[in-house]
């Protein structure tokens, strides 16, 4: 959103780049509008807290996906990974913060290692992360064969936190997105990552190792995955390795809705946040609208198509 509100008058090219996120933002506003006409309570602080809270882990996971898509990779294991983090949170972290913290760090390291191997062995990230998703799932089931456990008190307290006059879920969404924006869009690490997605040869010629960029990106994605898992655990109060399995494709869709692309090179943290909230709200709209059970998934698909089609139309107009 900061991009959209940039003080300088945006040029045509610049507008073209931020148009997708703008369309998604419009869709988001439209959806909130629909929700609040159907259910006026939505616009209250409590209502916003209710409808937004479920989108927090999704938005953070979308940031992880966005980071990898910026280097031109794609992560088909993020859903299982977030699930694994909830499991670790509900078992190790609650029994011993030190051990739990170390395990979570280890998971981030595992992500970095995955990036390292993907780079060195020159394998497609799509299939490598797909393979890794089985590993995350297996580890999760190994730690906690049946969903359960309990999250540490402080985390549960955060999940239940309801400040007056301010929808609590907005805080982590804005905070994480701003951080990712600083890292991936403003900072030099972000330049390295996007350069890798854009033109790895240029990166190598400048004496920067593409390997480092990729590992940084994967470590960042792993870190964001951990945060997403913590956020999810704070809301579900326990661990369940398959609780976030839908995130895998949802996060990809969120990044696309936010203006990202599969070809790498662009980082769209605010767009991904908007896309994530939009997608998260689709199920809210569905439950507010009286849609027949068997039509609900069609409506969901239709909304996604409509938003993207709108984005394409705007893009055509700006061209």
């Amino acid at each position: 959103m900061a991009e959209l509100l940039a003080p300088t008058l945006p040029g045509r090219a610049r507008m073209r780049h931020s148009a997708p996120a703008a369309v998604s933002a419009l869709a988001l506003i439209a959806m909130i509008g629909v929700c609040s006409t159907l259910q006026p309570g939505v616009l209250s602080v409590q209502g916003l807290t209710l409808v937004l809270s479920a989108t927090v882990p999704l938005v953070i996971a979308a940031q992880a996906q966005m980071t990898l898509m910026a280097v031109g990779d794609i992560d088909l294991g993020i859903g299982a990974f977030v699930g694994l983090v909830t499991v670790v949170t509900a078992t190790k972290l609650s029994s011993s913060p030190l051990v739990g913290g170390l395990v979570l760090l280890g998971l981030v390291a595992a992500y970095a290692l995955l990036g390292l191997l993907i780079h060195l062995r020159r394998v497609p990230s799509l299939i490598a992360t797909l393979g890794a998703s089985f590993v995350w799932l297996g580890l999760g089931l190994f730690l906690l064969p049946t969903p359960g456990g309990s999250t540490p008190e402080w985390l549960a307290a955060f999940g239940a936190w309801q400040p007056a006059g301010f929808p609590a879920p907005l805080l982590p969404i804005l905070l994480v997105t701003a951080l990712v924006h600083l890292l991936a869009s403003r900072g030099s690490a972000g330049v390295r990552m996007r350069a890798l997605g854009s033109n790895p040869v240029a990166l190598g010629r400048a004496g920067l190792r593409p390997l480092t960029s990729r590992v940084i990106a994967y470590a960042t994605a792993g870190g964001l995955g951990v945060v997403s898992g913590l956020a999810l655990a704070s809301q579900t109060g326990g661990g369940d390795v398959s609780s976030a399995s839908s995130y895998t494709l949802m996060t990809v869709a969120a990044v696309i809705l936010g203006g990202g692309s599969f070809s790498g090179g662009v980082a769209v943290p605010w767009g991904a946040a908007v896309g994530g909230v939009t997608l998260g709200l689709v199920s809210v709209v569905l439950s507010l609208l009286d849609v027949r059970s068997d039509l609900q998934s069609a409506v969901q698909g239709g909304i996604v198509l409509a938003v993207l089609a709108g984005r394409v139309l705007v893009g055509k107009v700006l061209r």
Partner: protein, 337 residues
């Protein structure tokens, strides 16, 4: 294993892994090696059919993927069983399944080519619509699969499943399609460099649309056969989404497009099916199953390695060229011209 050989014959890895698993099964159970293979061959064709369709889509270039195969299989299952029970003709049922696949593919194709929506999202959305229809159909469903066709699917003269032979022939046809027809060459050209193919006079949109339609039709065929072989159900296809992508890539097809390896789909499909058999035989927990499956996929993947960094990283919409020999040298001029 000689790396040079595996580089030029990328399908070897799938078969090698399948053979390895088969030997392990043989060592553990100490019996029925031939029958293990025979039963694996009676399950593999379903995965191969949908895999071939997925392979064509993946070959069409970076970013192309069909994630609607799972809902299409489920939907085609119901549709084909309903039609074959209604008309009394198994053939009509199979054709109905294929038709359903085509219809869903038309939706995806319009979204991809007409609205320029990224394929993964377009097919996801088309799949959601398909699963709505599936749920609708499943509600009052009364038909039962055609017993004649089921017999046919279970036919195993001399221990070789008839379906496997038929699908082997289909695979061979796919090879011919890719090597000997103008369409196949056009598809591979589009997959390598869409812009260049367009400038070379290839009708790019038509070629890509055809790939999605073929994938839809093949997924529909899978659904029709699978519903007869097992039974129509709303989650009949669920498992086939990830597996279809995985077998394509393990089979040696480039995920970034431009190289299709139909034979490899068989090797990878056999690998997956034998692996499931092994895991069930040993009675490992689900945790161990998943760890083993993921570990083996990663192991094979990292051992086999990839080609060019520039070409192998994930789906890319080739908006611009990556210098072909990026890692070693700089070839050509004005790559960003």
């Amino acid at each position: 294993m000689n790396l040079r050989v595996t580089r030029s014959r990328p399908w070897i890895w799938g078969f090698a892994a399948a053979a390895l698993i088969w030997l392990v099964i043989l060592a553990i159970s100490g019996q029925g090696g031939g029958q293990t293979l025979s039963l694996a061959l009676s399950l593999a064709p379903y995965l191969v059919i949908v895999g071939l369709g997925q392979m064509l889509v993946v070959t069409a270039g970076p970013g192309n993927i069909d994630v609607s195969v799972a809902p299409v299989i489920s939907l085609a299952g119901f549709a084909s069983v309903a039609v074959s029970a209604g008309t009394g003709s198994a053939l009509a049922g199979v054709l109905a399944g294929i038709g359903v696949g085509l219809v869903v593919a038309v939706v995806s194709t319009v979204a991809i080519l007409g609205l320029a929506i990224p394929p993964i999202i377009a097919t996801l959305a088309a799949g959601l619509v398909a699963s709505s229809v599936t749920l609708h159909l499943a509600g009052g469903f009364t038909a039962v699969p055609d017993p004649g066709l089921r017999e046919l699917l279970n036919l195993r003269p001399l221990g070789v499943p008839a379906l496997a032979v038929a699908i082997a022939a289909l695979t061979w046809l796919t090879v011919v399609l890719l090597r000997r027809t103008v369409y196949g060459r056009s598809l591979i050209a589009v997959g390598q460099n869409r812009r260049a193919a367009e400038r070379a006079g290839v009708p790019v949109s038509r070629v890509i649309a055809t790939a999605y339609l073929l994938s839809g039709a093949l997924a529909g065929l899978t659904g029709a056969l699978l519903a007869t072989y097992i039974a129509p159900s709303a989650d009949l296809g669920t498992r086939y989404l990830l597996d279809s992508v995985a077998v394509v890539v393990i089979g040696g097809t480039l995920i970034s497009g431009g190289r299709a390896v139909p034979v490899g789909v068989w090797g990878a499909a056999l690998f997956f099916i034998l692996l499931d058999g092994l895991v069930n035989l040993v009675g490992w927990s689900t945790a161990a199953q998943n760890l083993l499956k993921g570990g083996l996929v990663l192991f094979v993947l990292f051992l086999a390695g990839g080609g060019d960094r520039a070409r192998s990283t994930a789906p890319r919409l080739r908006r611009r060229p990556r210098p072909a020999a990026a890692t070693t040298t700089t070839t050509g001029d004005n790559s960003d011209g």
